[in-house]
Every structure is written in structure tokens, then in C-alpha cells.
Symmetry: C2
């Protein structure tokens, strides 16, 4: 046992310093969560403005931690770990300088836009700046590690660590390599996911959509198709799932949380890819249905609070039907 | 308003007497629930033995009602309705005689095996025995009302009222007509569903699988395909869904509750029908995977108690992994 531990220590240094690349919604969350879990974190983005926005988000997370930390899965951890949101804020540095962010990093989490050309350019810069032992992880939802393995300059130390938004409540970390990812590196990322209080989920071979979206997309597609094709109302679809599964949310509520535009884009893309299949045809019809909803101003609730937000989506807010006492009879 | 109510009263008499045709799992539950809700019920089957088994099930339900009625959705009703399981048992008659069961019935629930020739024969007998005003409902999960509308002799008074097993916890009543079902009859069945403490779900046009199975089948298919194709373990698939959806059960647990043989049969059938689609190919692979599991003695937990049953399925019982503290990290 000691031998293995020693060997691993020499080949893959322990992760101490984490670089988070991209300060958007997920980058903000990942950087806070890593800092909260005791890692030194550098957050990199292209403008001071984006970094300022991220810093404000971090301060909001710190307040949330105090107000409802007990109810949040990734924050409800053993007492001995004594997470401190104030210490977390101290551990994060904000920078627009790639060398400063990556120069002494042991692991990085890439959260840049889902545009292949952008990712390729960014990986070249990161590879030049980061030490050779640094593990590169991507949080891409729609692209595969194999698409960028060469671009990272370190294919064997490159893989996906994918989070679900918001990562604090849906605290999974889907770990997915490509064919040449080093097994020891895979295991180290599994451990890192655990260290930042995510439940590690092992994806044993490349899979578009990982587990999470591989389950969600066909489920949302069939649910929305029932509405689009005039079989049932959105409310009755949700009622049926909630009652028979004892589930807190039905598919229409999930669409409102994800946002109708994102769901539309997924259906439009995969509907084209699968257009010869029944499911593909349903996706295209569902995308058209969502287009009409979006045009009518129904975009979903996203991060809003359903009891106060005035958004519209598959439900009307505030006080949507599913929050009323008689919704489930 | 009064005019409408009056008209309905003369054309479709209020339901007082219910005939339940077939004393299998669902017939047992439907007959008990209707009697519990105050209807006089006749339960019809072909042998005394099957009726005796049903009577024993009713007595078990009555004990369950006393022990855990508060936790059961269909039994947790307003205090003023004061459901009495003992009175319910008194309201049920058991018979092998079609005339006795149906002669004075206002509504019947057909729960006979899913074999078209059997249903056709049964409907002819029921039509001869039942008064002309009697509404015929089918609880068929896999066949459509239009397949039997002519055989019932009363197409406009024939439609589906479909329950989810067990109906006491998953208390929905999916109401689905065919093209010639009378709208007033549809509404009366919606009201009957409500009267027996089901949440009525309106299926506006014929749909194989109603809502419930239209959502379940693609979801279970994509979930099992992740396992069958070697992407992830059954446990990680369930963990991902449970954590990201805040759901009490993942798809593998649901397969164990439905039973692996039933799921296998659904995939084998629809896999053939959809064999040119990606989903159909996945279904056939999943059916083969379940065949191997069944051959290895893994049939699922079905109605067993996961904490004491010794069944095997996608999990090993008793004390399956999902009941352990560390399952969700």
C-alpha cells in the first residue's frame, strides 16, 4: 500500500492549486466550491468586468452558504471539515493573465464557450503556461474530450470533469476520459471530485451527454412530444410523473429550470442528427413548439425564484400551478 | 348550469354499482378502491380460487389501510369522507356469474389478460349482460380502445381508465377515449376517477402507453443502454438521476420494482417495431441484457420489501446499495 501511495506521489503530485478557466455561470461555481474545499484557486477570464461579476457571485454564494448551507448537498458535509465561506473568498485570486493563473496550477477546469475554435486556441495558451504535471479537465457539456486531446498538448493528462448546474445542489462530478487518458490521472480526478464534495460518477467510455443528459434528453423529448402532438396538457404530464414516481418535479418544470432556449437548441441540433428516427422527428417538432413559446416571451424560470419571479415558460410565474395545493389532487 | 346537470342526469345515470372484470393484481386493487370510496362493487372472475385469492388481498389492503393509511396517497383524503375499510369489504360481492356481476352495473372496469382474442370474447359476454347505459372502461396497458370499440357493442360508451400499479400510491387514472367515445361519457369517467380518489389525467387522443409509459419507456431505455453499452454502472446511473433531480428513485430501482421480465418484454416488442431507429436497436440490446440477467435469477423486487426480500435484480436484496448511507456520497 505504501509503495503505491509513494509511486503516485512522485508521478502525480497532489492537487493544491486549481486554475478555473472562464468565469461564466459554471466557472463561478466551480471556483467557489474548490476554494471552499480548501484549494487555492485562480480564476481566469478575458476582462476585468467578467472577473468583477464573478467576485460578486462568490460573495452571493458565501451569503447563501450562511443562510441555507444545511440544505445544500455540496455544503452539508461532515462537521470536521468545517467549511468557511470567508476563508474561501480569501483563497481565490482573479486574473486576466494566463501565466499568473496557470503557472503553479496542479489541475485546471476549462469552462470556456462551447465553440471548438475557441477551445482549441485556449488549450494551446494553457499548455504553454501550465506546468507539465498539471491535469487539464474540461467542463464541456456538448463536446468530447477526444475532440481536443491533441490541442491540449498533454492528451494523457486530459479528460472531462463535468458538473451539473447548479453544482451545489446537483453535486455530481462526471469523470470521462478519452481513449488515451492515463488511468492514474482518471483516478486522481475522481478523488479531486470527492475532495470538492461532488459525488464522482465514472463514465467508462466517451458518451455524448454523459449520464445526466443521456437520460434527460429522451425523457424531455417524449414528455414534450405528448404536449406538442396534442395528447395531453403540460400539467397532466407533470402530474403523472410526479405521482407515479414520487418525484418533486415533472419534465415541464425541468424545462423551465433549464430554460426553453437551451432545450430548444438541444432538440434542434439532435433532431437534425437523428432526423430519420421517430425520436428525431419528435425533437424537430418540439424545437418548433419551443420556438413559438420563446417568440411569445416564454423563456422559463432559470435561476429565478418561482414564488416571486414574473417569468413565463411552460408554467406562468409567480405562483405557478405546481405550487398550488390542489395540483396533485 | 342546472340545465346541463339535469340533462346529464337523464342521459347518463350516476354511477352507483361498479363491476370489476378480472381479479388479478389490478382488478383486486380497483375493486377495493371503488368499494372504499362508497361504490357497490361486484368482482368477476372465472374460478372460485381466483376470487378467494382476491378476497384475501382485500383483507390485506384493509389491514394496510389501518397500519399506514396516512402515508398512502389514495387513502389520505379529507376527513369528512371517513373511509372505512371494513365497510368497503362489506360492499364487495364475488362472483363467477357474468349476469350477476354486470346485470345492474353502471360502470365496469375490464382487467382481463392482454390477449386480443380473450378481450373480444369477454366484451361480447359483458355487452349481453350489462344494461345499455353501463359505461365500459378498459385498464389495458398495451392495447388501444379503438381495437375493441366495435367488440363492446357500445363504442360511444367505451374508453380506457388506466391505473398505475400500485394504484393506492400512484393514484392516477388516465382517461383515454377512441374517436367515437361520447364526450359526456369521457367526463363522467373523469369524475368517477376523482370519486375513487384517483387524480384524473386526460389523454386527449389515443396514445400507446398513455402518459405514464410514454415517459417511462424512453427513460428506462436510455438508462439501461448506458449500462448495456458499458458507459456506466447501474449505481452511477441511479446516483446521477437521484442527485440532479432530487428524485427518490433512479431508473435501475424502477426496473427492479416493475420487474425485469416485464421491462424485457416491452423492450423486445418495441425494439422489433422500432428496429430501424437508434432507440429500437438500444431496446433490443437491452432486452438481450435483461434476458441474461433473468437467466441468472435476477427478476427484480416487484412487490417485495427491499429491506427483507432476498430477491436479486439490478440490485441485490435485502439491504440494496441504494439503502446504504453512503450511496449518494
Amino acid at each position: 500500500m505504501r509503495r503505491t501511495a509513494l509511486r503516485r506521489l512522485t508521478t502525480t503530485p497532489r492537487v493544491r492549486k486549481v486554475a478555473v478557466i472562464g468565469a461564466g455561470t459554471l466557472g463561478q461555481q466551480v471556483s467557489f466550491q474548490a476554494a471552499l474545499s480548501g484549494f487555492d484557486v485562480a480564476l481566469l477570464d478575458t476582462t476585468e468586468k467578467r472577473l468583477t461579476t464573478a467576485k460578486q457571485a462568490h460573495e452571493r454564494f458565501a451569503r447563501l452558504f450562511v443562510e441555507r448551507g444545511e440544505k445544500v448537498r455540496a455544503w452539508r458535509v461532515p462537521a470536521e471539515s468545517s467549511l468557511s465561506p470567508q476563508a474561501a473568498l480569501q483563497r481565490i485570486s482573479y486574473t486576466t493573465d494566463v501565466d499568473e493563473a496557470c503557472g503553479d496550477s496542479d489541475l485546471l477546469s476549462e469552462n470556456v464557450p462551447e465553440v471548438p475554435a475557441v477551445k482549441t486556441t485556449v488549450y494551446a495558451e494553457l499548455h504553454a503556461a501550465a506546468p507539465s504535471h498539471c491535469i487539464f479537465t474540461t467542463n464541456s457539456s456538448t463536446l468530447l474530450p477526444s475532440d481536443f486531446a491533441a490541442a491540449t498538448g498533454r492528451p494523457e493528462r486530459f479528460l472531462a470533469l463535468h458538473f451539473a448546474n447548479p453544482i451545489f445542489d446537483g453535486n455530481i462530478g462526471e469523470v470521462m476520459g478519452h481513449a488515451s487518458t492515463d488511468e492514474a490521472v482518471f483516478e486522481q480526478v475522481v478523488q479531486f471530485a470527492r475532495d470538492i464534495h461532488m459525488v464522482p460518477i465514472r463514465i467508462e467510455k466517451e458518451q455524448n451527454g454523459y449520464i445526466c443528459n443521456s437520460l434527460l434528453v429522451p425523457w424531455l423529448n417524449s414528455a414534450l412530444w405528448l404536449v406538442t402532438s396534442g395528447v395531453a396538457s403540460p400539467h397532466d404530464v407533470d402530474r403523472t410523473w410526479m405521482i407515479t414516481m414520487g418525484a418533486p418535479k415533472g419534465p415541464m418544470q425541468v424545462i423551465d429550470v433549464i430554460g426553453l432556449e437551451t432545450v430548444r437548441n438541444v432538440f434542434a441540433h439532435w433532431g437534425e442528427v437523428m432526423r430519420d428516427d421517430a425520436a428525431g422527428k419528435q425533437m424537430l417538432a418540439n424545437a418548433a413548439f419551443l420556438d413559438a413559446k420563446l417568440e411569445a416571451g416564454c423563456a422559463g424560470i432559470k435561476t429565478g425564484d418561482p414564488s416571486s419571479d414574473t417569468a413565463k415558460g411552460m408554467y406562468d410565474y409567480p405562483g405557478p400551478a405546481f405550487m398550488k395545493d390542489d395540483f396533485l389532487g
